[in-house]
């Protein structure tokens, strides 16, 4: 698995994957900048929230959802492309242990995604710190003991969500075996299937993977800037269910990759 992990890094330097990082950083910087620059036009509650210890986390949280989507798309596209390019057969000639190969590669991609996420949030934080004073927002409260704890809890939850999205993206890629199809299937699942189930049967819908990861991402608390995480499922329950999903999805992805023929 270590060999598969190490061999993945030169591939991660590909332009298409670096582009995902640039998109994440760029969009986050823009989103944070726009949120703070237009704070005066927002509701009074939001204007108050931004000046509390949750202000920085509340500003970054919408971007975190964006990061999650980009992680999902990147993983599904990168792994799916190995079927259309036919590169799995070359890789499997060198490392015939299929589960080792897939695990090593996914682990490398996950580490890269966590680094990218940290970088993205770092840049978002920097932009927020630069713009906030110009909007008359004191950043001191963001970094008091409660604010600092909230910030790092947010980062921790984001990393957990990134792990979840990476596993979900891997499963979709392994099942669909095509980059465009994998990305399409992932988005269709989140927007169409989960959306429909949530509309028709919300009590069931809130336990679907996308919803559960949203609860994990927001720490179980929807903010005024991001209502996506609103759910009656508690953070602890969401963590347990997300863990179960992660195990089941990993097993299904691994079993499927191990069992199915490589015909591409």
């Amino acid at each position: 698995m270590l060999a598969a992990f190490l061999s993945e890094w030169p591939k991660i330097r590909r332009r298409s994957i670096l582009l995902a990082l640039l998109v994440m950083v760029g969009l986050t910087a823009i989103a944070v900048g726009v949120t703070l620059a237009r704070i005066q036009r927002r509701s009074l509650e939001q204007q108050i929230l931004i000046k509390t210890d949750l202000g920085l986390v509340g500003t970054l949280q919408p971007s975190a959802s964006l990061v999650a989507v980009i992680v999902l798309i990147t993983i599904a596209a990168v792994l799916g492309a190995d079927w259309t390019q036919g590169t799995w057969r070359n890789l499997l000639v060198q490392e015939p242990g299929r589960v080792r190969l897939l695990s090593g590669r996914v682990l490398a991609l996950l580490v890269y995604m966590i680094i990218s996420t940290a970088l993205t949030i770092g840049v978002g934080t920097l932009v927020a710190m630069l713009i906030a004073p110009h909007e008359g927002i004191s950043t001191a409260v963001w970094w008091d003991s409660t604010g600092t704890r909230d910030y790092f809890e947010f980062l921790g939850n984001l990393v957990l969500a990134v792990i979840g999205w990476t596993i979900f993206g891997t499963l979709v890629a392994v099942l669909v075996r095509n980059p465009a199809g994998a990305v399409g299937a992932a988005i269709a699942w989140l927007l169409v299937i989960e959306g429909l189930v949530n509309q028709v049967e919300p009590t069931v819908g809130q336990y679907l993977p996308g919803r559960i990861l949203s609860v994990v991402l927001t720490g179980g608390q929807a903010t005024l800037f991001n209502a996506a995480g609103s759910s009656s499922v508690s953070y602890t329950t969401a963590l347990i269910i997300a863990g179960l999903y992660a195990v089941v999805m990993s097993v299904v992805a691994g079993a499927s990759f191990w069992y199915r023929d490589i015909t591409a």
Binding site: P10, R89, N90, L91, L92, Q94, P96, G97, Y259, T263
Partner: protein
């Protein structure tokens, strides 16, 4: 066991095959080491279709084995099964003495280029090789040397996306050689190569064989296979209709003696002599083609002289692999 199997299915393969096996196999290796490849009733079904049907073949070590057959005969499916990329529906196979159900046991000694080269187009040729070497734990792989061997040293730092098909093919062969393999499996290695590239490839394969590597080469270029293969496997509709030494392929021993004389009358005399000895004769373009073994040429010359016929041309023509192949396919279908 395997010879018995082939003999049962194809009575035209005789004991000479066993002698030929011994003659093309390096002394001492045949008995002491398992075959490079051995399959027993290997079968792969895709739905109702049997892509490979109870295939039983054997490739001894240290030979270049040609895997030939018409489109859809099951060549690539067979190679994929041998490499563990697809699972057999039934039957078994050993590669370097290890079951194909456990590819990790033998793949470190196998190199392969399957169904065309597949690389990351936005990485350079060198980086593609380097990632594969890391993945395969080939720490001693001489990537620069391999790139030099396949003639890509000058373009090694260029993105693979800018390579021609022939260059990608060369890179694929370099990748297959990363592990310094005991067994090299090449699927259509001459695809996209220019004539000098094909000649270089042929020489490379011979060098590897001479160095002890076993090569299994699938190709539809029969003339190419004819030039390099010591061993032949002919697949038709997923079945092996021949598996054995290339020289023993049915029809390969058929030799025609071509004769020309000073006058048409003398040619008739020669034809009559040949017919009297039980050989078929075809008169064509002022020459007589006599379906006779090479040993008959000398006797024919002597008998013709005694009969007053002066031979102005006497040579042998051996059946090409293409002709033998078509004959076998015709018999099989």
């Amino acid at each position: 066991m395997w010879l018995h199997f082939v003999a049962q299915r194809h009575p035209w393969q005789n004991a000479a095959v066993a002698q030929d096996v011994a003659s093309i196999t390096p002394p001492g290796t045949e008995s002491s080491r398992p075959a490079a490849i051995e399959t027993h009733d290997l079968t792969k079904r895709f739905g109702e279709r049997r892509a490979v049907d109870a295939l039983s073949i054997r490739v001894p070590r240290g030979v270049i084995a040609g895997l030939v057959g018409p489109n859809g005969a099951g060549k690539t499916t067979t190679l994929r099964m041998l490499l563990g990329l697809i699972r057999p529906t039934d039957g078994s196979a050993l590669v370097l003495g290890q079951s194909i159900r456990h590819p990790r046991a033998f793949m470190h000694s196998v190199g392969a280029l399957i169904e065309g080269p597949a690389f990351y187009p936005t990485l350079s040729g060198r980086t593609n090789l380097s990632t594969l070497a890391t993945l395969g734990r080939h720490r001693d792989a001489d990537i620069s040397g391999l790139l030099q061997t396949v003639g890509l040293a000058d373009r090694a730092r260029h993105m693979v996306g800018s390579y021609s098909l022939g260059m990608k093919q060369r890179l694929g062969i370099a990748a297959a050689l990363l592990s310094n393999p005991e067994l090299l499996i090449l699927d259509e290695p001459a695809n996209g190569l220019d004539p000098p590239g094909i000649i270089e490839m042929r020489e490379l394969m011979r060098r590897l064989r001479d160095g002890g590597t076993t090569l299994l080469v699938s190709s539809h270029l029969l003339a190419e296979v004819d030039q390099i293969a010591d061993w032949l496997i002919v697949l038709v509709a997923g079945k092996a209709v021949y598996s054995g030494p290339a020289a023993s392929l049915p029809g390969r021993q058929s030799v025609a003696i071509v004769v020309a004389t000073e006058t048409p009358e003398q040619l008739e005399t020669v034809a009559r002599i040949a017919r009297d000895h039980g050989y078929a004769v075809v008169m064509e373009n002022g020459r007589a083609q006599i379906a006779a073994p090479p040993a008959f040429a000398g006797e024919l010359n002597r008998l013709a002289m005694r009969a007053g016929a002066t031979l102005v041309e006497l040579h042998q023509v051996q059946t090409t692999l293409e002709e033998s192949f078509l004959q076998i396919i015709g018999e099989a279908t």
